[in-house]
């Protein structure tokens, strides 16, 4: 089933504009539940109440407050919040291009695909240009009254735009040098590399399933049919040994597995 575009924008590059439609690149598979009243299975309603009196507060009386320090906060009136809304725009502005490795995984937040919006020629021209240069673009845009920072890239022959976390959110480390006592020996490093290569593989996400979600889905289906669901029985085992011995034993085990 084709997905629906969530937004339309325009990539600015040089003298050109590339009109694009934006699609979420993730499918929400989360199982969402409703909260019910245990007694009569009626859905619950949520009321916003004053903590001191327990009385309901009307929607038009709700405000947002920003805490300045412990015990002090400032209420933002609707007019204040209005002031914070960035000017509306369809432009996806490219700040710069960098090698993909410059942006670490920890920056990536939500991924989107971009599809052409009426002009396939310039869309695929941009795809090819990104493919040739092997770079990603750092982009800024305003979508639904919010500002975003993102990474524009070529992905599977199409354009992808992932939102990035903000600089203030991301932490990085430099200059980690292990203490002398914790420094692995050359022979241990060699064994480590052997072990890693003995279970080296290509990334194949299809090998992994969310078993919990599958069990939960089965349980819901069984209960809906009025059946008593089968119980899931967990298992458990665990070995322990010294580092070098463990490495050697692991390599041996991995080799055996490959032969068999």
């Amino acid at each position: 089933m084709a997905a629906r575009a969530i937004w339309k924008g325009s990539i600015e590059l040089g003298k050109h504009q590339v009109a694009v439609k934006m699609y979420s690149a993730v499918e929400d598979r989360t199982i969402h539940f409703r909260m019910l009243h245990r007694k009569d299975d009626a859905p619950v309603e949520q009321h916003i109440v004053r903590k001191d009196t327990g009385k309901d507060v009307a929607k038009e009386d709700l405000r947002k407050a920003f805490a300045l320090s412990k015990g002090t906060a400032v209420i933002l009136e609707p007019a204040d919040l209005e002031k914070l809304i960035p000017p509306q725009s369809r432009d996806i502005h490219l700040c710069r291009f960098v090698a993909p490795s410059v942006v670490g995984d920890q920056w990536y937040d939500r991924p989107y695909y971009l599809g052409p919006d009426g002009d396939d020629e310039s869309y695929f021209a941009l795809v090819h240009a990104l493919e040739r240069k092997k770079v990603i673009g750092i982009a800024r845009w305003v979508m639904r009254k919010k500002q975003y920072v993102g990474a524009l890239s070529e992905l599977n022959g199409y354009l992808a735009l992932a939102t990035l976390r903000r600089a203030e959110q991301v932490l990085s480390f430099s200059g980690i040098e292990p203490a002398k006592t914790a420094k692995p020996h050359a022979n241990e490093l060699k064994l480590g590399e052997q072990l890693v290569s003995s279970i080296a593989a290509d990334f194949d996400p299809q090998l992994w399933q969310n078993d919990y979600r599958q069990r939960l889905t089965k349980l819901i289906e069984a209960k809906a049919r009025g059946e008593k669901p089968a119980r899931h029985v967990p298992k458990k085992v665990k070995p322990q040994a010294s580092l070098a011995d463990s490495l050697r034993a692991s390599i041996a085990a991995a080799k055996e597995k490959k032969v068999a």
Binding site: D52, R96, A167, F173, E177
Partner: protein
């Protein structure tokens, strides 16, 4: 505030407090467990590697009173406590009640292992798989094995792939080493990731060749070797904070709060990260320098802690509270 009884399984090995040198307050890691590959095991503590945005606001009424949530039965209109609540799932127009026992019966096994099943080249994992990063700190006497795995992954350019259970959920994870510090980056499952085909994007075409050449030139003109952090800043948070300070100066809408809703424990990441720096410094090396993405001055722990204290009441689950009751749904799975 009434909450439904927790159906989540208890943490294996407990989320134990990490010891902070210098007599600082002890903090709790998100998860404690063991990385295993082959027969090697490395006990680790897990901490969030990203801080929340400084844009969170609390819900108050016009005069600044603290607000909370109260569930009511939609049929009887009566107030409900946590014990009165149960989760339901609507399927084929029928509401199926899912009890705590039901959830327990399908819960992932109580494992505290991240078992690395294979090592794959980092560049093979598309960026759209990455979900949330956590730092791993060696626990107990595992520093040597920790460094060994980190060094091995960096020299081979490979990252470990495995799965683990946290807070009753099963996560697919890539263990990556970044400058000697290991991270557990949770990954999306394959069925959560769309493809151009599943979205229904038009067939690939060659595009205008001349235009592609022009784009190549435009890209080259904008290509740099490094990021400019100012392009990645949170301008919204800054604008919000400036406005708030201005209002405070003008004494407009300033409230003295008391009993405002406690910060969501999930969003208390800041505190954990600050103390994590101390934890990592101690467990990895005395000479480790911790910086944020600005790449600026090393972080001053005492100062950060003071800041954290000052803002510890800032975060509130505004989105949840602001959502209308009709669309409010309990999430899980």
């Amino acid at each position: 505030m009434p909450k439904p009884k927790s159906r989540r399984a208890k943490q294996p090995r407990g989320a134990k407090p990490a010891v902070v040198p210098g007599g600082g307050p002890s903090v709790r890691s998100f998860w404690s467990g063991t990385i295993t590959f082959g027969l090697v095991s490395i006990p680790v503590d897990l901490f969030s590697a990203v801080r929340p945005r400084q844009t969170a606001m609390k819900l108050v009424d016009k005069s600044g009173h603290a607000l909370g949530r109260q569930y009511h039965c939609s049929k009887e209109g009566t107030k409900l406590d946590g014990d009165d609540l149960v989760r339901g799932y609507e399927t084929d127009g029928k509401m199926v009640e899912i009890t705590d026992d039901d959830f327990a019966s399908v819960a992932p096994e109580m494992s505290s292992d991240i078992e690395l099943r294979n090592f794959v080249p980092l560049e093979q994992i598309p960026s759209l798989y990455f979900q949330k990063p956590y730092f791993l700190a060696p626990a107990g006497k595992s520093a040597k094995a920790y460094h060994l795995l980190a060094a091995t992954m960096e020299s081979t350019g490979r990252v470990g792939i495995g799965s683990f259970v946290m807070r009753g959920h099963e996560y697919l994870v890539a263990i990556v080493s970044d400058n000697g510090v290991m991270r557990a980056d949770t990954l999306r499952y394959a069925d959560e990731v769309r493809t151009p085909e599943s979205i229904g994007l038009p067939k690939r075409s060659k595009g205008a060749a001349k235009m592609a050449d022009q784009f190549v030139k435009d890209i080259e003109a904008l290509t740099r070797t490094e990021l400019d952090i100012s392009e990645l800043q949170d301008n919204e948070a800054q604008a919000l904070q400036e406005l708030v300070k201005e209002k405070q100066k003008n004494k407009a809408n300033v409230i003295e709060e008391s009993g405002l809703e406690e910060a969501d424990p999930e969003s208390g990441d800041g505190a954990k990260i600050i103390d994590l720096m101390a934890v990592l410094r101690k467990s990895l090396s005395k000479g480790a320098v911790v910086t944020n993405a600005r790449g600026g001055a090393p972080v001053d722990l005492a100062e950060r802690r003071a800041q954290k204290k000052a803002t510890s009441t800032r975060k509130a689950p505004k989105k949840k509270a602001a959502r209308s009751p009709a669309t409010k749904r309990a999430r899980s799975g």
